[in-house]
Symmetry: C3
Subunit: 439 residues, 3 copies
């Protein structure tokens, strides 16, 4: 925990894990997709925690190179054998349906059915998660064991879905701050019953919003609950004039699994958000991974496209595709746990604390050191072997506050935690030895 | 093999090794020096492969701080003992003569002779290669074993050479391209019977010229077959106004031995040629060495002198002076082998491919990703765990084609081979998603 | 030894160790503080070696954020037990007194006395060194063994000191050079009987001043013997208009102990002084440590405060606080030894040699290499396997003397010692191949 007000936040950061988990439990049974009622129902649940605004964008709306697709809804789906038994049943697990399957209702042989069945031969107990948003198709996802047990038979195949003009839905919550400069927190909210990817992200974003709305803040915080890819594209297309306000951003995903924290840098690679997250991870006393930006992953792909190149990274635990439960039925309520959600939350809070407090000061007494003792800032006994961390922080802040170094620069160069540097800066500012630099 | 058209080139790169070796065999017996008929005869052999222009520069011509020296020719040389036996015989190996020896014909004691004999005590079976271009001298090079067996006797010493006003000869072949921007390929061609240094370089340059003349090309390629040092100085002095056209260059030498590939960077250190060669070596799946520029070596010394500072490096196998056969009679037809010549050739071809295709593009759809699926560029099934290398290359090229990144930059940052990046760029350009940047 | 005139300096650098040690012996018994007669007496001893100017700055003079304190002097101090025995005696070791103790003379119980006694429980045989310059206090420093043996008794406590308006004293010696550009050599001279910290620094500065005054020099050298912190602040405050002349500087301290050499970089981190010292250490064939600047340590804190940011580092052996004898009675005449003083001195001399000779030249024959052979600068026999270091140095200097590289740059890039590069540059300049660049 490197945050500024550790005592008040520990309570918050311990509870959020449990609370976030409860929210995940509420959201888990719903069959979400990039459009449709499952997405809307999910937003209504989040609205019970934060005052989300829900937006609807009509099918066919042009969004850059794309078009908002038809809306998909599904009531039921099954494959019945000739004895009338549901051998594949959407009611049992919504992953069973190829997401965005077009409606179908007819009988067919196993040979006809098989090309529409998806399984994971190397993980034979798990149901895969598959989608076909942009090519009309229908299909079922099943465990390989079930697939292998299907006998020659005549099957009744029913997908009671609709794919019709409608709208794409997204949720947005702007927490205004003292300035119009924004921090963007974006989570894809389109996956069906998959907990880590990305109910964990939705839950963390929800509770981070609750946190920042209670804190004094210079930044405005924009929380987006959007369908992956098409949602980010839609939002960006409809808010081009506002994008300049985004100064920092994080894509929140996969924050509840037991893996170590991982940070994928923004395309810029050395943006303030990149350095803030790295600082928190470096001072976390935990192992962590850092990855350079690559144009594959979540919605940072869109935020970091060359026409925007926004300083948006992604702080996760195990990244997408790197844990065996990824995009399978094993990404369930057992995989994510409150303790990991709490830990991820605490790191997001600490990052926000850095962004909020990373100011640049000018030492008002730049020629030689000021006399800290007479201001009560410093020990009075000379000659001792050790100097304390706080005193070192005071000296570092004074030495580097020349208008060219923000507090995060000073933390990095000194090797001290940002929170310690910030505390020292507070003390010096109160003594009149620092003035904020209005650059 | 990282070249663009691998299938067509594998045939070319397998044959050249054998063909290059045959050319080396033809050139091997000739006694070359920095001037004279041996050099001319060698160029006439190369002319059978490529349309070389031969130039003669008169003795006494001032070339920067130097002067074209008198021309040296030799017909015969020997040391006979009192029984009339040739104990040292130029006819047996032209390394026996101190290159540029002035004529002499008289008898002398062993004591008189000995200061004019050069051997390698630590490699007692090998004849060293020695020259005395700029200080009049005469001498013989012998194996240390032969030297030690010479008895007290009266020896007839004969060097039937001439050192007279004449000219310095060099060969040049300009393969014009779509632009006047040039790639310089330079090989010193003045060494007598030494295969790796530098008949291998002459052979590689010859066959690289044959290769590029058959390829579409934006660059013009200038191949120089010159005497070392004085030849490069002479060429530079006589072509000062054209030097600005040289955009990339390589000094070709020592490309036929079994050692791993080595690259000596240009004085600039980060020129495009340096990065192109490093990329090929990094993706070669072979070990390799890289050396920073130093002002000792081959003609890169002249091309990289501070008044020119051309982007010229040197791609060799074992560098000069680092293999035991270097500048001895063991640098013979056994040391160089077709397989190593082929491998070196393939790397030069791959470097040329990078230079030719390293263009900078602008993503015409820079805001968010374009929809690759509707253009048939991309898989249509979402949610799968892996994305393929080609798809990653498409995404990298789109993401970084902002006008600031050429394809080699993108290859370096993505970790993908240039050839894969170039293929992706071709596909995107054909889809209208990329436009070449005219910077 | 990387200096230019090694033969003449070896004599000097062997003797200085012994001579420096003798100076340390003379200075050791004196009780110094940041003001007072002990400091003055010490300067009078140094004046026997170099023509030091002594300056007095009156108590109460404002110096930036500070004020020159009252002057402290002490004649005697003791704690007597009821039997009249001096159980703590300033006459035995001047570390026994808390430096800057106010006068006191009265009897008290052990309980009253104890809060005024300072010891080192983990080093029970050693007397600590403590000061209280800026908070009125009195006290005694004793070994922990002595402290533990003190019985319940009535003690006579006497500190016969004065703390009165007077002045702060410092010594200064400017050795003028051909230019007004200055090298600053600063040593704190305020510590009482502590040899390494910093009688060793005072001795090295003294003998370095004797050295430079006998050498041709382009720089002026300013040697400061000042009380720590307040002395540097006072000097800087009174010489603000001259500070611009300081081009390089070193704080000299802890140069006599057996530890390896250590360099603490200036705040800039890549100043010429930083690179010069690193070069000497890298070529010393000895282990060494390098530390980045931090705002704790000696007077580099003041010289590197953001309002000045002078290129001042500190070349020591074991740095402050990192050896067990630091600020204790064990920092005595046994800890420092002539051999280490000599070695430190030699390194300072070598650094000065770099600063003096680190000029930038232009190759007057920049296009291709000049013909070194005809100028007698180079071997005449071509084809040999090795080239000698001197010849490499000639080639490096010619290749990089383009106006952008000073000799230290060339030494760094070539990997050759500065002295070798400088010798080559001398030879080339004498041949007319180099001209000094007047940048």
């Amino acid at each position: 925990m490197n945050s500024i007000n550790a005592s008040s936040q520990i309570n918050e950061t311990e509870q959020p894990g449990t609370q976030m988990y409860q929210l995940i439990e509420e959201l888990y049974p719903i069959c979400r997709s990039i459009t449709g009622n499952g997405f809307r129902e999910s937003l209504r649940i989040v609205e019970q925690y934060i005052p989300l605004e829900t937006h609807e964008v009509l099918t066919g709306t042009a969004v850059f190179d794309w078009m908002v697709p038809r809306e998909w809804n599904i009531r039921d789906a099954f494959v019945k054998n000739s004895r009338g038994e549901r051998v594949i049943d959407f009611q049992a697990n919504n992953l069973h349906i190829l997401n965005y399957s077009v409606p179908i209702h007819r009988t067919m042989s196993l040979a006809e059915l098989k090309p529409h069945l998806y399984s994971l031969p190397e993980q034979p107990n798990l149901i895969p998660y598959r989608t076909s948003y942009y090519k009309e198709n229908w299909g079922f996802c099943v465990s390989h064991h079930v697939l292998q047990q299907l006998e020659e038979d005549t099957y009744e195949v029913c997908i009671d879905s609709t794919l019709q003009p409608g709208s794409l839905t997204y949720g947005e919550y702007l927490v205004p701050g003292n300035t119009t400069d924004e921090v963007l927190i974006s989570c894809h909210s389109c996956h069906p019953s998959l907990c880590n990817d990305n109910l964990s992200g939705m839950a963390l974003a929800t509770f981070l919003a609750r946190h920042v709305q209670t804190q004094p803040r210079r930044y405005s915080y924009r929380f987006l609950f959007i369908p992956g890819t098409i949602g980010a594209i839609t939002w960006l297309a409809m808010h081009e004039s506002q994008i300049q306000h985004i100064k920092h951003g994080l894509v929140v995903a996969c924050v509840g699994d037991p893996g170590i924290s991982s940070y994928k840098k923004s395309r810029r690679g050395d943006a303030e958000i990149d350095r803030a997250v790295l600082h928190i991870l470096q001072h976390s006393d935990q192992p962590y991974n850092v990855y350079d930006f690559s144009p594959y992953g979540y919605d940072e792909r869109q935020y970091c496209s060359p026409g925007f190149n926004l300083p948006v990274g992604s702080l996760t635990r195990t990244p997408h595709g790197r844990y065996p439960e990824y995009h399978t039925s094993a990404d369930n309520l057992d995989l994510v746990q409150p303790i990991y959600l709490s830990d991820s939350f605490a790191k997001y809070v600490a990052v926000v604390d850095i962004l909020e407090h990373n100011r640049t000061y000018i030492n008002t007494n730049p020629k030689c050191e000021p006399q800290l003792g007479k201001r009560g800032l410093y020990g009075t006994m000379g000659g001792q072997k050790d100097t304390k961390t706080h005193e070192m922080a005071l000296l570092w802040v004074l030495n580097l506050s020349d208008g060219d170094h923000a507090l995060l620069d000073i933390a990095e160069r000194s090797g001290l935690a940002f929170s310690i540097i910030n505390t020292a800066a507070d003390a010096l500012r109160q003594s009149g030895l620092l003035q904020e630099c209005s650059r």
